[in-house]
């Protein structure tokens, strides 16, 4: 068992990273002993005593690697068994534990760390900055180059889900040669935009009908339900209306009195330019009608959202339509 610790702890919520860490750990153990038997256990289906059973020496078997996933979802039995296993002197058995985070199973984590476990982090990747450095890292490991524009385009197309992002990186690395630029990304992932309700609402409130409809279609195509989109439209318009009618004053004071964040106030103020009370009112009424329609009041939810978006943009440009209800 040279070079490899008996215990490995993979801690962190990011499944893509955790899976990779696990794969490389197994590979490393196999390098030590190609005959290693890998025994996988899930916390949710764990039976008390299972760990001890697998860890006990057997006449015929060689070295074993016990892998316990999702320790944070396990019950007290599992935690106790892990602690007990760490305290015994293991022969020809390795233990790798995956923990997604949180307080549960803390005892086992401490025991593992005290036993000099190798700790591999799998930190959450959420912000766009983390994601772009993830993409850069992927290409660096493969000794390839990607331009910053291409990274941005890639994030825009498939950035929502990290595993999808990772596999997209792998595909680009495998299928292309040379520097990956924006054109390359467009060739593979062009026309795909992961829009959210917020982007739809921003475009609609700004009066940009073409953009709003395009984003709406993208959002619907990538699986966003009409109901949350309408809810976002309503909340954005509400913020604009409340800020627009609240008069002057510092955005900090206004934020406090309206129960909003200061940046929301600033943004709503910006968006409020070009609107007046009557038109905002009609836009809100159009959204309320759409909300009713997407919740069973109408036949086609998608049509209802589309109409609401069009009504908002029309009102932004001052169309003299009647009351929308």
């Amino acid at each position: 068992m040279t070079g490899m610790p008996t215990y490995v702890l993979i801690a962190g919520p990011e499944q893509v990273l955790a899976d990779r860490a696990l794969a490389s750990t197994i590979e490393a153990y196999r390098a030590v002993d190609p005959e290693t038997e890998v025994i996988r256990m899930e916390a949710s289906t764990y039976q008390p005593g299972e760990l001890a059973m697998h860890a006990s020496p057997s006449l015929f078997s060689g070295t074993k690697l016990l892998v316990v996933r999702d320790l944070d979802e396990g019950g007290d039995d599992l935690v106790q068994d892990v602690v007990a296993l760490v305290e015994t002197d293991l022969q020809d058995v390795w233990l790798t534990v995956l923990h997604k985070g949180g307080q549960r199973g803390k005892k086992a984590l401490t025991a593992l760390k005290n036993a000099d476990a190798r700790v591999i982090d799998a930190p959450a990747i959420k912000s766009d900055r983390d994601k772009s450095s993830f993409v850069m890292g992927e290409f660096q490991v493969a000794r390839r180059k990607i331009t910053p524009d291409a990274v941005r385009a890639l994030l825009e197309a498939v950035g929502k889900d990290l595993s999808e992002l990772a596999s997209s990186c792998q595909q680009l690395i495998a299928d292309t040669a040379g520097v990956v630029d924006e054109g390359r990304v467009a060739l593979y992932y062009g026309g795909k935009v992961e829009a959210t309700g917020f982007r739809v609402a921003d475009a609609a409130v700004a009066g940009n009908a073409a953009d709003a409809l395009r984003l709406l279609r993208h959002a619907l195509a990538s699986g966003v339900d009409p109901v949350p989109i309408v809810a976002v439209l309503a909340s954005q318009l509400r913020q604009v209306a409340r800020v627009a009618t609240a008069g002057g004053g510092s955005s900090g004071a206004l934020a406090k009195s309206l129960g909003m964040a200061p940046w929301q106030v600033d943004r709503a103020r910006q968006a409020a330019r070009g609107w007046d009370g009557d038109r905002l009112g009609r836009a809100i009424q159009a959204v309320a009608a759409a909300d009713f329609a997407v919740k069973g009041g109408g036949r086609d939810p998608v049509y209802a959202v589309e109409q609401a978006v069009l009504a908002i943009t029309a009102q932004r440009h001052g169309a003299a339509t009647g009351r929308a209800g």
């Binding site: 019950g75 509400r238 009618t245 009370g277 009112g281 809100i284 009424q285 309320a288 909300d291 919740k295």
Partner: protein
């Protein structure tokens, strides 16, 4: 209505002579009895009171004397053969309906009939209603179903066709006031006022007569009508209405939720002071919390709906004044507000406002977030500058 018919258990069923007559005949004459009844009528018209009176009359050896043990236990809800199903959540679930269907197969234990009353038949989910069909269609000899709903359209057609329909109407204001005075000992003057303000809704009238908070809330809501000028006012008014509902909902349920949790912990033998509960207790607790949450949602919606009905009444009054109709006003105490509203808006505007309120009520029932529905409504209620 002959005076003699309004005695015994029927005393509190006010202003419904025809319906009472039909039910009384059914009790007396087996040829006029049937196994499934559907009582409909506007909220507060006394559907569940009528259903309970009917149940008591069926169990009573004397056709509803109001004095015997049977009558009293039915009134108190402790009679062994009378089951009352009502929900404080949003709907009656299929498992509850199956339980009722099972119960319907049992013979009565102490009385003549097994009576099953469903107070909110309109809240039966579709699957729950389907689960009842078999039991409703193939009646067991001594089982009677009494379903209550606002209107026949509120229950599915297959239930409608399996039961006999009796319609209740809105009782007269004077009758409601008389009931409040007689039953709850409320001062006649206050009772009359409350009955009028509640538009003959018996339960609401009692609340208004007894609860100062309810009176104040009602007045705040009504005064809103004359104060919406411009989008800012509209948004604030909507937010206030929604906040009022949340406030009342949490005030009413906070204490009760805590007691329920306490009871559950006691039943499970868990330590209420423990920082973390064992898993089986936790799962029960989260189930309870879920139930409490749907109850709060329902309660909040009911409160909003009530405010909207109040709001509707002031526009109605303004319309009555404008048209010069000799009909009594609902809001006699706010005559000035009514007058100013009737001069500020033309008949068309008043009708539009009433329409907007109706739309908001409909939308809230259809699960539109109350705040959004209220905003759309208050925007329509803006007074011309």
């Amino acid at each position: 209505m002959s005076e003699s018919s309004a005695t015994g258990v029927w005393r509190d069923v006010i202003g419904q002579p025809t319906a009472v007559q039909v039910l009384q005949d059914a009790v007396r004459d087996p040829a006029r009895m049937t196994h499934g009844w559907l009582l409909t009528g506007p909220p507060g018209s006394g559907r569940s009171t009528a259903a309970r009176a009917f149940a008591a009359a069926l169990e009573c050896p004397d056709d509803g004397c109001g004095q015997c043990r049977e009558c009293r236990t039915v009134a108190e809800g402790t009679h062994a053969d009378v089951t009352v199903m009502s929900t404080q959540g949003l709907s009656i679930q299929v498992r509850d309906a199956r339980e009722l269907a099972r119960l319907a197969q049992h013979r009565p234990t102490v009385g003549h009939w097994r009576v099953i009353i469903i107070e909110d038949a309109d809240r039966l989910t579709e699957r729950a209603a389907d689960a009842l069909l078999k039991a409703l269609e193939e009646p067991v000899p001594r089982t009677v179903w009494v379903l209550c709903a606002p209107s026949v359209e509120d229950v599915i057609i297959t239930i409608r066709s399996r039961s006999r329909h009796i319609g209740l109407r809105t009782p007269a204001v004077a009758a409601v006031a008389e009931l409040l005075t007689r039953r709850d000992g409320i001062d006649p003057q206050v009772a009359l006022h409350a009955a009028r303000a509640a538009q003959s809704h018996v339960g609401l009238a009692r609340r208004l007569a007894r609860d100062q908070g309810a009176r104040t809330r009602r007045e705040t809501t009504l005064l809103m009508a004359g104060r919406i000028r411009g989008l800012g006012d509209a948004m604030t008014a909507a937010a206030d209405l929604a906040a009022l509902a949340t406030e009342e909902s949490s005030a009413a349920s906070g204490e009760r939720n805590a007691t329920e949790k306490m009871h559950l912990l006691e039943q499970l033998g868990a330590d209420p002071a423990a920082r973390t509960q064992p898993p089986h207790v936790r799962s029960q607790l989260s189930a309870l919390e879920k139930e409490q949450k749907t109850r709060a949602t329902r309660f909040g919606r009911d409160v909003i709906d009530r405010s909207l009905v109040d709001l509707l009444s002031i526009y109605r009054d303004a319309l009555v004044v404008q048209l010069g109709e000799p009909v009594e006003l609902v809001n006699t105490d706010l005559r000035e507000e009514v007058l100013s509203l009737s001069t500020a808006l033309r008949a068309e505007g008043l009708l539009n406002a009433m329409d907007a309120i109706g739309t908001a009520r409909e939308r809230i029932t259809a699960n539109v977030p109350p705040l959004l529905a209220l905003e759309a409504m208050t925007i329509s209620l803006q007074l011309p500058a």
